[in-house]
Symmetry: C2
Subunit: 255 residues, 2 copies
């Protein structure tokens, strides 16, 4: 029997959600993880809808996904999610992704803040609902991957610039957190994915971007072979540096 | 009790699957419909996996979706699907989309062929599995929308050209049928969607396109206010006309 502090949700890798190698797309996995976070929080009384009533909203700050393998087309898989820690301004939520037979696909870590929707100022999580969010902290369950780390891009020449269109925009009028993942995955050619798998994928969400923004993608290959990526909005003109929107780090393994 | 010729599948409109107005994205709905087609066919012995064993595959030729309304974020909705007709070379599959309370959101029609995976030639559906596909024809259930119609684009100046990247490509190495829908939806600005809803959306899939292809989108507004769209791959150079990949028609209503 699982502890009720852990939520478990099941999925199947749908045909239009796998890439040309037949494995689940990283953006689709990210969407499932964020949905699981929402289900788990809602079931425990601190979901988006509940905290919106008090004029607060959850903001995803960091996401790190580390996969030994990805589910293949039609594979059933499950996601466990739980709260590892609650601090005053941030909470750590972890995920385990595993197959029907119990095999582990991988793990993920996320960091969230709660902000006031008017002032955009962070709220004190330890006082949320009389402090009862800490009742859901699960410290026993392992998440054997590193915490999100530092991402630093020195490159000053964008690899690509992409204008944000209708389907990039979410219900808040911001570029959808999942769409950033897809645009970042597209910085690598198909041939690269034929020979490499993503072992670890990190996102650091820094600021919002909007419809009509042009996002510029700066990429730097690090000494350890990983790639650090910085996404900036509206580079050039009066603001030559633009504004940093998010950063990402990808570590690949040879197939 | 529903007739077993009709399959019913349930969904919820997920947060990252709705647009800035909070309504389900057309591409996401299209994905759900095609998944339902797969579930229904698989449960009756003529799904992709089964016919692949005999070296055949289903090819989607036409899709027409007509919606009175779209599910909003977190709304539960269901899709009924059934086979309306089987001809020698094509089969008509219909869909009804409705809410938890039984309210109708809309309907869809699709047309499919089955081809031999080596010769790419169409197969005779009436002889599939000893002809038993016809046992699943459901003629009583209504689908009160028009069949897919003719789409004709006169424009010779593309509105936009887009290169196909990694996340556009499906397990067969082709541009994903759903991604065409998203690229087509992106031909209209956010302001347009603020004032208009898609009443009817049609796709005619003509030929495949591939990684690295540049797709050019030609759009023509018709006398009745609908928009016909033609998508061509690799226009220019030795082949100034390019090759038609798909066509689409959108009818909008004012909000």
């Amino acid at each position: 029997m699982k502890d009720s502090k852990v939520g478990t949700y099941s999925f199947v890798a749908e045909p239009f959600h796998v890439d040309f190698t037949g494995k689940l797309c990283m953006g689709v996995l990210g969407n499932h993880l964020l949905n699981c976070a929402g289900f788990h929080a809602t079931e425990r009384g601190f979901g988006m809808a509940e905290i919106n009533e008090d004029n607060y909203t959850w903001v995803l700050s960091r996401l790190a996904v580390e996969m030994e393998d990805m589910p293949a087309q039609y594979d059933e898989f499950s996601v466990d999610t739980w709260v590892e820690n609650v601090y005053r301004l941030f909470t750590d939520r972890n995920f385990a992704i595993y197959g029907k037979d119990g095999r582990s696909y991988g793990y993920a870590r996320s960091v969230w803040a709660m902000i006031n929707m008017d002032t955009r100022k962070p709220a004190d999580l330890l006082t949320l609902h009389g402090g009862n969010i800490v009742d859901y902290i699960e410290t026993e369950k392992p998440c054997p991957i590193e915490k999100p780390g530092r991402i630093k891009v020195g490159s000053c020449m964008p690899m690509r610039s992409v204008e944000m269109h209708y389907t990039d925009i979410d219900i808040n009028g911001h570029v959808n957190s999942i769409k950033y993942i897809e645009h970042i995955m597209n910085l690598f050619p198909l041939d690269w994915y034929a020979g490499h798998v993503v072992r670890r994928f990190e996102m650091a969400y820094v600021a919002e971007s909007y419809y009509g923004d042009t996002l510029s993608f700066f990429r730097e290959e690090k000494e350890d072979g990983s790639f650090d990526i910085e996404v900036r909005r509206n580079v050039g003109g009066e603001n030559p540096e633009g504004e940093v929107v998010c950063r990402s780090k990808l570590k690949f393994d040879n197939k």
